[in-house]
């Protein structure tokens, strides 16, 4: 059978098959499985059919729990149904999975296995999710490679039909879901032959139908439940054999034979590893390598983990086995061993006991953990396990791949152990996300994998920043299938696509001796040497690297490519690596360009082709001197004065050496210090803002809109300038309260991302040259050193006294220190200015409950985090629970605080005479409405604590009172107002968390909810949510969203006792500030829905503020505030803050790619949806106007 060869990643490989053999697909985005749903949706949108000729219906649900429910329903109605998920998503499906399995329903859930959040969230791969689902009754089939994903997607789909047991088809998140490899695709005829239509019809007939009704899903009593549960046993007992039969049939059709357990290695092996998942591939090549050297080692790959076929497992073991090492990619704290280990122990013990094992003596069996959260798993580690098995008393319950210096579980391994053959080309590319490096490498893999006989593999490592993120591409090409499921450790080609990386990273660490080193250099071949750090020069000389430069940005500039150097550097790679003859390679690159960009228009194709043609002219060999001459080294990662933890832990993570940190270095419970982004100087801006004090009106707008908190303002006495650096700028303060004082606006030069929003918002123009404003972008490099000094000086100036300032004015509140700074959000992010404002206004008294999403990633992803503290050490306390439960999480915080206040109040009342009536009364009845009130209360609480400490120390009180005193002392801070802010995106608030949000809002508790509404699931790549506007293109809405956006605000308004505001800081910053202050002041639940421009809207974010204005001016985003407190003042609680629309909706919409794209892909539908969208806006506006005109009614607070 001829099968098509293709290079693709695991997600695509899986989705291609799943789409062929299903009728209904219920999806919900979750990393790393989201692309499977996206592929399925795209196939259906393109009209691709399943093997029965119908287009599968793809439906996006509001949560994984919802997706599982929809799957269950579709299955009950007789449709062949699937879903894709991972991690917490799978856990949300568990209740339904028990039902689906209990009802013996055929289905396959395809799982890109991912860590379940514990001490921290992790998006990366391990088996903790599927292990948490192993009691559901779903079979579990593990695919270890991209080829196996293709094959097992089909095998599981065929097997579930015959066994009636539902399947989890599992492969490792990222390592397999995102690895690109060369595979043989399955021909439709193979798929057709594997799926038995008779079984499909039986499945359909088992579905609910009023034409032959029955009841399923009853409630059972103790009399029968147990027996009924056991009634399914025959199906589980038969399942392994059926799976083997299906595998055999598959082998007949494709030549690829799989077994329930596959053995690799010496037939007389004495030491055997048992493992499942992608690690088995590395184990495979390692065991083969060692066996070829005469070592008696072997490997059992577990394919079907559930039902665990004991007999087949025992049969797979060589009779000579003396020691077995079982490797689990999961951790079960407190268990006597991880799941696979326990299964193996049981199987072998039973086999030995009943003499069905091929050996009579019980072998030694040890179990260990490896690879949690995609931790590297290499041949060296496998060798370490095999070596351990040779010991008389091998270490059990070990870990491998880390240094556990606390409980000493870890095995040592030889990092130099390398089994990669010489005929495999191993290449590493360092790039920026924005320069297109990864895309180019994916293209190269396709070219080599599909145009040559070579096998090809690509795996890509990204950091967790959304702006200026560094990517490292690991590519292998070779004559045999590539099983190396670990990063390249010894590269014979290293390309560095950004010159600035040289000052930050040891980019030649992975270079093998004699490797080719290609550098994107603005310096000519005879100049570049002097610009390299000394250590790098030494490495080049010592490793005898062949050094080339290519001025990628010069070529990009000449050919209109801007900052994208993808095809340029790709051309350099092909020209130097010799994988293909250069002419053939160029032809192939151009073909790929046509294929990738052709539909975007000829201009784009021409531009890329020109870049390719120009690249070779700029590629030059560098003559390497015999000695290092440089007198500078790489920048230090963090300054010497950084705290110890930052020096010893954080800095290692920043440097990319976090793998080397021992267990003891890390906090035991996931607790990390606040405010660490300030230590990570990323220097990613090409240009930074420069202040012109002469024309600045000190309005604060640039500071307000700065998404990264890099623009700061201070007012201080001119005496402070005595020690100011020479270039430090200040001018007379233009504030009536600060006459005669100095004002300074300072930029953090190394933390700025160069987004330019500050310049856009600046209202002042230079009268002589209006192209200049009071703040202007200038190249960062020449300014860096001087501005670093200025920044350090600025930080040491005193902060302004918060009390007495009219904080409802931007001009004043921007004098407050932001307690959210330098996050890794996208350059120009539309969310972070709201968080920064929140931190400025209330940060010193706030606890933040943050839903999973963009804000939890830029807010809480290591190595460094942006929530920080003020001069007094106070600041927002932040935590993230899950995606779906954030409102509830925040409510829990609120009730805990409320309860503590009540408890503390009771104790204080009880002891007030001893403490002092006056102080107690003052504390208990204090107004805390203004900054001054709060400041005064802080003073009183300090006094209280002082008195309590004295009383405890004196010991004069009755001893029975001491516990109360100590308790009160520990709780005293609660008397100062505490805010709870519940923060998250629209995916949370409108979809997965809506039920909880609704409940929490309805609770009447004093919580503040901030919805950062980007109108899509931004963090997972722009999937449609119920906040997505009509006519916008989003993932899962490729043909434009047909339905209008949910009016979340009005749903909340309907309760009558919830403060609700819709804001857009770019359109009306004063209204935004008012809304924040009112929401916080309101003694009840509040909800702020904040327009957040986003990269997923498809336009240059520098224009984000203009776009916010257009959104408001067109009434797409009418601003309003609904304040129930107004009712008591006999005023209408609904205040419409927008003026009559003055812009047609299309003027707003068609500035954005998400709307324009539809006019290009579906012009007629776009016109129709535009019409409907305009109608939506008109109707809503009329309703709002009517509401605003109403006289106050009685729907106010109900207490």
């Amino acid at each position: 059978m001829t099968e098509k060869i293709m290079t693709l990643d695991g997600n695509e490989a899986c989705a291609r098959v799943a789409h062929k053999v299903n009728e209904v697909i219920a999806i919900y985005p979750i990393t790393p499985s989201s692309p499977m749903g996206e592929w399925a949706d795209q196939y259906s949108a393109e009209g691709k059919t399943n093997i029965w000729g119908s287009i599968p219906l793809v439906v996006e649900m509001q949560a994984e729990g919802g997706a599982a429910g929809a799957v269950h329903g579709a299955l009950q109605a007789g449709a062949l149904t699937t879903t894709f998920t991972a991690s917490q998503g799978l856990l949300l499906m568990v209740p339904n999975m028990h039902k689906i399995a209990g009802e013996l329903t055929s289905t396959v859930f395809h799982i890109a296995a991912r860590s379940v959040a514990a001490q921290a969230l992790s998006i990366f791969g391990d088996h903790s999710d599927v292990m948490a689902a192993r009691g559901t009754g779903f079979a579990q089939l593990f695919a270890n490679s991209i080829q196996e994903i293709t094959d097992f997607a089909l095998i599981s789909s065929a097997a579930t039909m015959e066994t009636r047991v539902p399947f989890l088809h599992i492969f490792d998140g990222f390592r397999s879901s995102h690895e690109i490899n060369k595979v043989e695709l399955l021909d439709d005829s193979v798929i057709r032959a594997m799926i038995n239509d008779e079984l499909v019809r039986s499945h359909r007939e088992r579905g609910l139908s009023p034409d032959h009704p029955f009841i399923r899903g009853t409630a059972q009593n103790p009399d029968v439940f147990f027996q009924a549960r056991e009634s399914a046993n025959p199906y589980y007992l038969a399942a392994p054999q059926i799976v083997q039969k299906v595998m055999d049939k598959f082998a007949e059709l494709t030549g690829r034979q799989y077994n329930l357990f596959d053995y690799v290695g010496a037939p007389d092996a004495e030491r055997v590893i048992v493992i499942m998942g992608s690690g088995a591939e590395t184990a495979h090549e390692t065991v083969e390598y060692l066996a070829a050297q005469g070592e008696k080692v072997g490997l059992v790959k577990v394919r079907l983990y559930r039902p665990f076929a004991v007999e087949a497992f025992l049969k797979a073991l060589p009779p000579t086995v003396k020691a077995i090492g079982v490797l689990d990619r999961t951790k079960e704290p407190g268990a006597s061993g991880e799941p696979l280990y326990q299964d193996v122990i049981t199987a072998v013990a039973e086999g030995v006991a009943d003499e069905t094992a091929p050996f009579a003596i019980m072998p030694k069996i040890i179990g260990g953990r490896y690879g949690l959260s995609s931790k590297e798993f290499t041949p060296a580690m496998i060798k370490a396990v095999l070596d351990e098995l040779a010991n008389d008393k091998p270490k059990n319950h070990f870990t491998v791949g880390i240094n556990d210096d606390v409980t000493h579980t870890s095995l040592d391994y030889d990092k130099e152990f390398n089994i990669e053959p010489d005929d495999v080309v191993r290449a590493v590319f360092y790039g920026l996300g924005s320069d297109g490096t990864v895309g180019a490498n994916k293209n190269s893999i396709k070219i080599i994998g599909e145009d040559t006989d070579n096998y090809a593999q690509g795996y890509f490592v990204y950091d967790s920043k959304k702006a200026g993120s560094v990517t490292v591409s690991h590519l292998r090409f070779g004559p045999r299938p590539i099983r190396s499921t670990y990063l390249v450790h010894s590269a014979n080609f290293v390309a560095v696509h950004q010159f600035s990386f040289l000052e930050r990273y040891d980019v030649l660490r992975l270079a093998a001796p004699g490797a080719i080193f290609l550098l994107n250099s603005p310096y000519a071949p005879d100049e570049v040497w002097d610009h390299l750090p000394r250590a790098m020069q030494e490495t080049i000389i010592a490793k005898k690297l062949k050094f080339y430069v290519l001025d990628g940005y010069e070529v990009a500039k000449n050919t209109g490519m801007g900052r994208r150097i993808n095809t340029i550097m790709q051309t350099g790679f092909f020209a130097l690596s010799g994988v293909l003859p250069t002419d053939d390679a160029i032809a192939a690159i151009k073909y790929a360009i046509k294929k990738t960009y052709g539909k975007r228009g000829e201009a784009v194709v021409n531009m890329n082709n020109a870049a390719v043609d120009n690249a070779l002219d700029h590629l030059h060999k560098v003559t390497v001197p015999v000695t290092a001459t440089s007198d500078f080294e790489r920048m230090s990662i963090v300054p010497e004065y950084a705290p110890e933890f930052i020096q010893s832990v954080t800095a290692r993570m920043i440097e990319g050496l976090g793998d080397e940190l021992p267990v003891s270095a890390l906090p035991v419970d996931g607790t990390y210090p606040s405010g660490t982004t300030k230590w990570e100087k990323r220097n990613i801006a090409v240009e930074i803002p420069v202040w012109d004090p002469d024309i600045c009106i000190q309005c604060g707008k640039c500071s307000l809109v700065c998404p990264h908190g890099v623009i700061r303002e201070k007012i201080f006495d001119s005496a402070a300038l005595e020690k100011a650096p020479e270039t430090f700028k200040s001018t007379e303060a233009r504030f009536k309260e600060f006459k005669g004082m100095q004002f300074s606006l300072q930029v953090a030069p190394e933390d700025c991302t160069g987004c330019g929003l500050c310049v856009e918002v600046c209202p002042v123009k230079n009268k002589t040259q209006p192209k200049f404003k009071a703040i202007n972008m200038e190249p960062q490099l020449p300014l860096r050193d001087q501005e670093k000094e200025n920044w350090d000086f600025f930080l040491n100036l005193p902060s302004v006294d918060r009390t007495g300032l009219p904080l409802n004015q931007v001009k004043y509140n921007q004098l407050l220190d932001p307690l959210f700074e330098f996050s890794g959000a996208c350059a120009g992010c539309g969310e972070t200015p709201y968080l920064k404002l929140l931190s400025q206004l209330f940060g010193d008294r706030t606890i933040v409950a943050n839903a999973t999403g963009c804000s939890s990633i830029y807010g809480g992803n290591l190595p460094t985090t942006p929530w920080t503290v003020n001069e007094e050490g106070r600041g927002p306390a932040w935590s993230n629970s899950l995606f779906e439960d954030n409102a509830e999480f925040g409510l829990g915080m609120r009730v805990a605080l409320d309860q503590r206040l009540e408890a503390a109040t009771n104790v204080m009342r009880h002891m007030s005479s001893a403490i002092g009536e006056e102080l107690c009364e003052a504390i208990l009845y204090a107004d805390q409405l203004t900054e001054a009130d709060i400041q005064a209360q802080r003073g009183r609480v300090a006094e209280l604590k002082h008195r309590l400490q004295e009383m405890i120390a004196d010991g004069e009180m009755e001893s029975t009172w001491k516990p109360d005193l100590e308790n009160l002392l520990s709780m005293a801070d609660i008397f100062v107002k505490k805010d709870v802010w519940i923060v998250g995106g629209d995916g949370w608030a409108y979809d997965i968390g809506y039920g909880g949000l609704d409940h929490v809002l309805a609770s009447g508790r004093n919580v503040n909810v901030l919805v950062l509404d980007t109108e899509v699931y931004s963090n997972t790549g722009g999937q449609m949510s119920k906040a997505t506007p009509r006519a916008a293109v989003a993932k899962f809405a490729a043909a434009g969203k047909p339905m209008a956006k949910k009016d979340l605000g009005m749903l909340a308004v309907s309760y009558g006792n919830i403060y609700v505001a819709r804001v857009a800081f770019g359109a009306n910053d004063a209204q935004t500030v008012r809304a924040f202050l009112e929401a916080e002041a309101y003694d009840g639940p509040s909800l702020i829905i904040a327009y957040s421009h986003c990269i997923a809207h498809g336009y240059d974010l520098t224009l984000g503020l203009e776009q916010q204005k257009a959104a408001v001016d067109s009434a797409y985003w009418p601003l309003f505030r609904y304040n129930p407190d107004m009712v008591a003042q006999n005023k209408n609680p609904f205040q419409l803050d927008s003026r009559t629309p003055k812009l047609p909706l299309e003027k707003y919409m068609y500035r954005e790619g998400r709307f324009r794209m539809l006019t290009q892909s579906h012009p007629e539908r776009a016109a129709k949806l535009l019409e409907l969208a305009q109608e939506d806006v008109k109707t809503r506006w009329e309703n709002y106007v009517e509401m605003a005109a109403k006289s106050p009614n009685g729907n106010g607070k109900t207490g």
Partner: protein
């Protein structure tokens, strides 16, 4: 009354032709123009620069932020195809041809030589009866001489003429130092018509906000004078047909244009201001005017007040302020 005229070899029932404007984007408006009596229509321009820009923009927003962050390797679904090229415009020509009986004239604004030729050919293939080259070119380059600018016009015309068989007309700006010579050279180079004159959008200054702002001002009858003069001067001296555009609002404007020598009068601002149905009003008015002044046909008055036919040819060459004043006082 016989209002017929000939333009670019096309026999037209009257001289009223809606010119290239946003109104011609909608098929419904085109039908209404025909129903109101328009004798032909010039469609809105296909801008090569816009196609390039659209394509680059699409690429930009499909590329922005991708492959940077592990959870979001892209932000948009890829559609099977995008209409970034001239397809939409070409389909519009096809639909217009299907919907209308009157001639449909395509309009093109190119940038590159390849673009002019390629798109001209496609417009012909889509069924346009003629092609208007909208050479919207502002020579701001300090190193570009007038001779070089003129050559650009001639080259474009020659390239396009060599590529298509349908008649080609050139829409010109009035900013030539030797207008008459330029017109003659274009005519000699094969231009089937000259459309006088293109109105450039003149940006305005916003003194409060220190900004340059786009400011679209619709034409009025006063602006008729400039094209009127040049049509009168060129009439009978160049082989190309002459079309007058800019300033046609009233019946008298049409009459003047034809008397100066225009084969057709093009109209846009009037329709934008007062509706497409104004075509009918003007036609009725034109017929009444001809009847009232006892003309037998429109043809009879064509070019009657051109420079070669009028009683005082020098009047068209007067530029001096004083003389105009004296002429006015007389």
């Amino acid at each position: 009354m016989d209002l017929s005229t000939t333009y670019l070899g096309l026999k037209l029932k009257n001289p009223l032709v809606p010119s290239s404007s946003p109104l011609t984007r909608s098929l419904d408006s085109l039908r209404r123009m025909e129903d109101a009596g328009a004798s032909a229509v010039v469609l809105y321009s296909l801008f090569e620069e816009q196609i390039t820009l659209e394509s680059e923009m699409l690429n930009h927003y499909l590329t922005q932020g991708i492959e940077s962050f592990p959870e979001a390797l892209s932000y948009f679904p890829e559609a099977e195809e995008y209409h970034t090229g001239p397809e939409g415009y070409l389909e519009h020509i096809q639909r217009a041809k299907k919907a209308l009986d009157i001639p449909v004239i395509g309009s093109l604004n190119g940038v590159s030589t390849g673009g002019w030729v390629n798109y001209a050919r496609k417009i012909q293939e889509a069924g346009a009866d003629a092609l208007e080259l909208n050479v919207y070119y502002l020579p701001t380059d300090m190193n570009l001489s007038s001779a070089e600018v003129e050559q650009i016009y001639l080259d474009i015309l020659k390239d396009v003429k060599a590529a298509v068989t349908i008649p080609v007309t050139m829409k010109l700006s009035p900013y030539f130092s030797a207008m008459a010579n330029m017109a003659k050279r274009l005519s000699d180079a094969g231009a089937n018509g000259l459309v006088l004159f293109n109105r450039f959008y003149q940006p305005d200054l916003d003194p409060q906000n220190l900004e340059i702002v786009p400011h679209l001002v619709l034409s009025n009858s006063n602006e008729l004078r400039l094209p009127l003069r040049w049509i009168a001067i060129l009439y009978g001296r160049v082989a190309a047909d002459l079309a007058l555009t800019t300033g046609i609002h009233q019946v008298e404007d049409v009459v003047k244009a034809v008397m100066a020598g225009a084969s057709i009068t093009m109209i846009a601002s009037e329709l934008l201001q007062n509706g497409i149905e104004r075509v009918g009003d003007l036609l009725t008015g034109l017929e009444q005017w001809l009847t009232e002044y006892e003309y037998e046909s429109l043809e009879q008055m064509k070019g009657s007040l051109s420079q070669i036919n009028c009683a005082e040819p020098a009047a068209f060459e007067r530029a001096n302020y004083m003389r105009v004043l004296s002429s006015y006082s007389r």
